[in-house]
């Protein structure tokens, strides 16, 4: 699946997007964040306060307990500040 990062999440991870293939025991958005945060210092920094990070699956907002099965594109970003 494709991961996208925005704003300070993107800056901390150090890239705007990447393809990943998480193991089958990573089933939800929350578990995916925990798995990502173990991939390296930059990920640990980006996801150190996972509670504030928002997520979207295929262009729709989702909660941390949402299953990631079947997702094509998952995005992680800070609370939004548009308007």
């Amino acid at each position: 699946m494709k991961l996208l990062y925005f704003a300070w999440v993107r800056e901390r991870v150090g890239k705007p997007e990447e393809e990943i293939d998480p193991p089958p025991n990573v089933r939800t958005i929350g578990e995916l964040m925990a798995w990502l945060s173990r991939r390296g210092e930059e990920y640990a920094y980006a996801f150190e306060n996972a509670k504030v990070i928002r997520a979207a699956i295929d262009h729709a907002h989702v909660k941390p307990d949402t299953a990631i099965a079947g997702a094509r594109e998952i995005a992680f970003f800070p609370p939004m500040t548009g308007g």
Binding site: L4, H59, H61, M80, T81, G83
Partner: protein, 159 residues
């Protein structure tokens, strides 16, 4: 219904004309324009850069335009949100809503702005005297969006 994301400025008069020309059933046009301010909580802002999530931003705004149409009797809605680098005085966002009467037009424009602030995937990075930082989300904006979910707070409701 039109939702546009663009780097360029917009012309408010032209956007109103787009919704009203050739029609005689519109009695109310409400517009809201968000403008880049030179200060934020006492700090002087030199510029800001708006980042967005292409694809989701359009989809999320469109979902809320459809919800506004379901809640209020609207003839037309236009939402334009700019991205890229903006300086104080620049237009940032435009909402135009047309209806027979003012209640629906005002309410729809306010509803859409409250949701744009909290649900549309845009992020502002401010430039202040040599430093740059991401703007933090405001709880007041969450509260403004939340009040539309409370029973009994449905100004100009269609029913």
């Amino acid at each position: 219904m039109a939702v546009r994301l663009q780097r360029e400025d917009f012309d408010i008069g032209a956007e109103i004309a787009e919704l009203t020309q050739g029609r005689t059933d519109i009695g109310a046009v409400a517009t809201f324009t968000g403008v880049c301010r030179a200060d934020n909580e006492g700090h002087r802002i030199e510029a800001m850069t708006l980042e967005h999530y292409p694809g989701m931003a359009e989809a999320e705004i469109l979902r809320h335009v459809e919800e506004a149409q379901a809640r209020w009797p609207l003839f037309g809605v236009t939402v334009i949100h700019r991205y890229g680098r903006l300086v104080p005085g620049d237009n940032v966002v435009l909402v135009v809503a047309t209806s027979s009467h003012r209640e629906a037009a005002f309410a729809a424009a306010e509803f859409l702005m409250d949701y744009l602030k909290t649900r549309a995937p845009f992020w502002k990075k401010e430039e202040r005297a040599g430093a740059a930082g991401w703007v933090e989300a405001r709880q007041a904006d969450d509260a403004a969006a939340q009040r539309w979910r409370q029973a009994g707070r449905r100004p100009g409701a269609a029913e």
